[in-house]
């Protein structure tokens, strides 16, 4: 039943598109209904998933043949890696609709594209067939362009085009790897089934070029430094709901692909000797991930635009995910997975505050021009502070466990990396506090007055904000709610991977 | 003096082809360009007939009949378009039809 999530989203997209554009409230309610159905199915999946058994569940079994000439099957399912991300997609999907309640122009098209994007993302997370995964990945690219180019702000067409071309370039790398996989194995056993591929022992020569193609291809979408530049411009240009989806979910799509496909299928490449360096790719990715954390935080520190601060903080936080993935131990891997979920919620919340609660009302995002907003809009300020604290990784919030686990994992795997990461975390605290101070507590600016008379926060916005904040606390106080299935999946993953990775790289 | 053999005919045909190609590229009058195209087709005809005569049976000569017909049709269409162009613009020179870029 879980597989209905993307069918429902596609169906919703078509239904919403067919409604006349002046039926605005009907369109909104219908979109909310379809998004909520997706979330409900995701939550049902969370309840129905058997953690003890692990592996792929709740799908369509072994699937049905789709393109038999190439061994492509239409096979779906979820495991401990993908199920939390499906739920995340549902949560962001629903709250995104709530934060988009004020969209007046071409409402039906907006929600049609939005649901199309949601459906594509669900599809990626639920695909057990690599070919299918790539198809959904490509489906999810184009709606982003129109969402940003039509309803966005600040250099929207530039941001949209850059984002789409980066994603498509990543997609091209993935396609190259995909076409390679098709003929790497014995033609009789040709298959794109992720489970079967994971059990295949690819030759080290093939792994050596397939791994970087896939990791880079998906890594571009995950904001891997130095290919992250699409992310801040794209997020800033996007309308609120789209920024939430982009930073909250689509970047996770990239890291999910890195984990599931690049590392999952070619773990041997992580330890392989390239250019005379043993474990070349693992080293490279570790350094790049550390750069993500440090560079993203540093750049966020000097931004004047509120939304760019959040944009670069996303790049910084994705560094933790990528770092956790290459530690190849239980702490790091579970931490990365939890960080994916946690950052998804945090980024969604922060972008919602900046885009909807602040910018749509003040019509400026310059931190210098804001100031003193806290008194005029206490709800906005409190929500942002909650999100900001979670983003800093304060105990009791979801970010805390996630980053802690990643830190433990990297301590075990490569202790030296903690130096740049530690600096990055300190900078994170500084820029978050700076932003909170400048926007909400500093002296009221001369031009804007004291922000009295801002439009009040509406009910959908309040509901969505409280919902997201509640999840932050829930996962922060009781991480087992997700961590149990993540741990189980990571354990199974590591058991399998250990057979192909040199022992010293995968020590517990 | 020995009678001309296959190679002689082929050389003539290649020369004709090159003359035609040069005419298409270099000449400025569209009528002459069309004529040059015909020279190129006839160069091929000559080669076909020569090959046919020196050993390959009758196929080539049959081929030539088809080519002559097709070439006539091509000229008919070409002249029709040229006439239409002349009526519209009063010119049949290559340099005058530069409304469209290359």
């Amino acid at each position: 039943m879980l597989v209905w999530t993307f069918w429902i989203s596609f169906l919703g997209s078509a239904a919403v598109a067919l409604l006349p554009s002046h039926w605005k409230s009907e369109v909104r309610w219908l979109a909310l209904l379809f998004a909520a159905l997706g979330l409900a199915l995701g939550l049902w999946g969370w309840g129905a998933y058997d953690v003890e058994v692990g592996g792929y569940q709740l799908g369509n079994g072994e699937g049905v043949p789709w393109i038999p000439e190439l061994g492509v099957r239409f096979r779906l399912g979820a495991d401990g890696f993908s199920l939390p991300l499906v739920i995340l997609t549902g949560v962001i999907g629903v709250t995104g609709v709530l934060y988009s309640w004020n969209i007046e122009e071409r409402v039906n098209q907006f929600f049609a594209l939005y649901l199309l994007l949601l459906g594509g993302v669900y599809g990626v997370f639920l695909s057990v067939d690599l070919f299918l995964l790539v198809v959904f990945y490509e489906i999810a690219i184009v709606p982003k362009y129109f969402l940003i180019a039509i309803w966005g702000s600040t250099r929207k067409e530039y941001g949209a085009m850059k984002l789409v071309l980066y994603s498509f370039a990543g997609g091209a790398l993935v396609l190259l790897g995909l076409a390679g996989i098709a003929f790497a194995a014995d033609p009789a056993a040709r298959s794109f089934d992720l489970e079967r591929l994971a059990a295949t022992n690819f030759s080290s020569g093939f792994q050596a070029w397939a791994f970087p193609a896939f990791f880079l291809g998906f890594g571009i979408l995950a904001g891997l430094w130095p290919f992250h530049t699409w992310a801040p411009t794209g997020h800033v240009a996007a309308p609120t709901a789209a920024s939430m989806l982009l930073a909250g979910v689509v970047m996770k799509l990239g890291s999910y692909g890195c984990l599931r496909v690049a590392i999952g299928l070619f773990p041997g490449a992580l330890g392989a000797t390239v250019l005379g360096v043993p474990g070349f790719w693992r080293w490279t990715i570790t350094v790049l991930a550390a750069m993500n954390i440090l560079y993203g935080a540093m750049v966020a520190l000097v931004q004047r635009d509120f939304k760019f601060v959040i944009g670069y903080s996303s790049v910084s936080h994705m560094g933790f995910v990528l770092l956790g993935l290459v530690t190849l131990n239980l702490w790091g891997l579970s931490g990365a997975l939890l960080q994916m979920f946690s950052h998804g919620i945090v980024a969604g919340l922060l972008f919602a505050v900046v885009g909807r609660l602040v910018y749509d009302r003040t019509h400026t995002r310059e931190l210098d021009e804001l100031g003193g907003l806290g008194r005029a809009a206490p709800f906005t300020a409190s929500v942002f502070i909650i999100g900001g604290l979670a983003s800093m990784g304060l105990p009791g919030m979801s970010g805390f466990f996630a980053e802690l686990l990643v830190l433990i994992g990297s301590w075990k795997a490569f202790a030296w990396v903690l130096i740049p990461v530690g600096i990055g975390m300190i900078v994170t605290v500084v820029y978050t506090l700076r932003t909170i101070h400048l926007a909400f507590f500093g002296a009221a600016p001369l031009v804007g007055g004291d922000w009295r008379g801002l439009p009040p926060i509406t009910l959908p916005e309040k509901a969505a904000s409280c919902f997201l904040a509640a999840i932050l606390f829930l996962v922060g106080l009781y991480p087992t709610v997700l961590l149990s299935m993540m741990d189980r999946a990571s354990q199974q993953f590591l058991d399998r991977v250990k057979q192909t990775v040199p022992v010293h790289l995968a020590r517990p | 003096m020995e009678p001309p053999g296959l190679n002689h005919w082929l050389v003539v045909s290649a020369m004709l082809f090159c003359i035609g190609a040069a005419g298409v590229v270099l000449r400025r009058n569209l009528l002459v360009v069309l004529m040059s195209l015909e020279i190129m087709l006839n160069a091929a005809n000559l080669a076909l007939v020569a090959f046919s005569r020196y050993g390959n049976g009758l196929d080539g000569q049959i081929f030539v009949f088809f080519v002559i017909t097709v070439a006539a049709a091509e000229v008919a269409v070409g002249l029709a378009i040229l006439v239409a162009l002349y009526r519209l613009c009063g010119t049949v020179r290559v340099s005058d039809i530069a409304t469209l870029k290359l």
Binding site: A172, L176, A182 | A50, V67, E74
Partner: protein, 514 residues
């Protein structure tokens, strides 16, 4: 030969016979009705009759494909096979879209002649798709092209139409001359007129010291001629002008059915007849083998580069489509090179080329039909004339978006699978050494650029504001055509194996009868 022997022949030749009758009927109908009915009524009446006839053609072709029988006449002069019937079906569908577009085109005065030209051109394509001998290929190619020259120039009051038609004629004539001169050498050196005979002769020559210099010169000249036909760079110079000048219904045929026929005939010649002299382009240039492969690789790279980069700079929708067509020629040529070190083509190559040619024809017919519907209310066909067209005519604008995304290679549209199969075929050829990875990587990179410009066109329609808000009404028949083409593009995309399997079981491009 008595009558009972002729009847089965009639069954195989029925589409061609019907088409000839239709074309002649259109001419006669024009002559008979020109005094009785006004231009618009004649246009409608004859147009619907032509559509009806083409529909009947589709039925016959479907029957041929379903029966699964193959007939070869006259040493490959005419081969009716289920595979060919499917290709002809795609060409017929594209031409039907063009006829539908022309039902209300205001510029034509001699409507009967116009339809007759369209039908004769399609007849030429039918023969071309069935031809497996050099003579028939040449004659059919000319039968396809000559009406198209006239159609491209048929907007007699517009200077750019005449000029475009003239350029098309000159370059087309040049290409025919190159092709014919090449054919004369190929025929002369081998003494073979049929493609199967040529291949056998070439195989025999392997042990007898090679086919000789003159033969290879002939092959190269033929490649130049074919390059013109499928608009591969650097032989694409006619395409932008011919597309821009031609009225939209004619441009639609140029870009769809004519291209399909060109690709198929090129595949028959290169991958069929000339396969033994293919050479290869695997790995670094030092390890390449001489043959036609390096030349075709040069064409492919040039087409990918020129087509994609020049399309970025275009301001006119039709010129834009012309450069897109050059780029797609580059894409399809990639699969022509899918040969392993011993010269055997990859198993996926032939079905991938056929699949691509079919979906490309259908998609392009859709693009032009949608542009035609939008151009109804626009002043011209520059991008600027389509600004905000989605507000004025959401229906065709939506379908245009679908077709453009298919060309860009976005799933679930068929274009994605088409490109993917082409590139997979190229990688399959030398799967152990990834000999063609350089070419595939380049093609993929260029296709990222391609998404950029297709989205630019889509942006003009969907993102930019409209200056003129009057709605554009789309005639019902055009709507039906758009929906049908979109369903085909989506259906062949979501179920690619329906087409692939058919192409494989019915014999790919390579299966020559003789």
């Amino acid at each position: 030969m008595n009558l009972s022997d002729l009847l089965p022949l009639l069954r195989f030749l029925a589409p061609e016979i019907l088409l000839s009758a239709l074309a002649l009927g259109a001419l006669l109908g024009e002559a008979a009705l020109s005094r009785l009915l006004g231009v618009e009524k004649r246009q409608n009446l004859l147009g619907w009759l032509a559509l009806l006839g083409l529909g009947a053609c589709l039925v016959i072709l479907g029957d041929q494909a379903a029966r699964g029988e193959t007939l070869a006449l006259g040493r490959g002069a005419f081969v009716a096979s289920p595979f060919n019937a499917l290709l002809k079906t795609a060409a017929t569908l594209a031409v039907m879209a063009s006829v539908t577009m022309g039902l209300r085109a205001p510029f034509v005065r001699h409507v009967g002649e116009n339809y007759a030209l369209v039908l004769f051109s399609l007849l030429g394509m039918f023969f071309l798709l069935s031809a497996e001998s050099l003579l028939m290929i040449f004659v059919a190619l000319e039968l396809t092209s000559l009406p198209l020259y006239a159609l491209a120039a048929s907007q007699k009051g517009a200077r750019r139409s005449i000029e475009g038609g003239l350029k098309y004629l000159l370059f087309g004539g040049l290409s025919a001359a190159f092709l014919l001169f090449g054919i004369s050498y190929v025929y002369g050196m081998s003494g073979q007129g049929s493609l199967a005979g040529l291949r056998d002769w070439l195989v025999a020559q392997r042990t007898a010291g090679g086919p000789g210099f003159l033969f290879l010169t002939g092959v190269c000249l033929m490649i130049v001629g074919l390059g013109f036909k499928i608009a591969a760079a650097p032989f694409h110079l006619w395409a932008p002008d011919a597309y821009e000048g031609a009225p939209l219904p004619a441009a639609a045929i140029l870009a769809s059915a004519s291209k399909l026929a060109g690709i198929v005939v090129a595949a028959r010649l290169l991958l069929g007849a000339f396969l033994p002299v293919a050479g290869n382009v695997l790995g670094s240039p030092l390890s390449w083998h001489a043959g036609w492969s390096p030349a075709v690789a040069a064409l492919a790279v040039a087409s990918l580069t020129v087509g994609n980069l020049a399309a970025l700079a275009q301001r006119n929708a039709k010129r834009f489509m012309a450069y897109s067509s050059v780029a797609h020629a580059g894409n399809v040529l990639v699969a022509f090179l899918a040969l392993d070190a011993s010269g055997r083509p990859a198993a996926l190559a032939a079905p991938a080329i056929a699949y691509y040619a079919v979906i490309y024809a259908l998609t392009n017919a859709g693009v032009f039909a949608a542009i035609h519907a939008l151009a109804w209310g626009a002043r011209g066909d520059d991008f600027a004339d389509f600004r905000g067209a989605a507000r004025r005519a959401p229906f065709p604008a939506f379908f245009l978006l679908i077709f453009l995304l298919s060309l860009a290679g976005v799933p679930p549209m068929a274009g994605f699978f088409g490109k993917l199969f082409l590139f997979m075929a190229a990688l399959q050829a030398d799967a152990t050494h990834w000999g063609l990875a350089w070419l595939v990587a380049y093609a993929l990179a260029m296709n990222v650029v391609a998404l950029g410009y297709y989205l630019r066109f889509a942006r003009v329609l969907w993102v930019e504001p409209a200056e003129d808000l009057r709605p554009i009404s789309t005639p019902l028949e055009l709507r039906v055509a758009l929906v049908a083409l979109a369903l085909l593009v989506l259906g062949l995309g979501v179920f690619p194996s329906s087409c692939l399997a058919a192409f494989r079981t019915m014999g790919g491009v390579l299966l020559l009868r003789g």
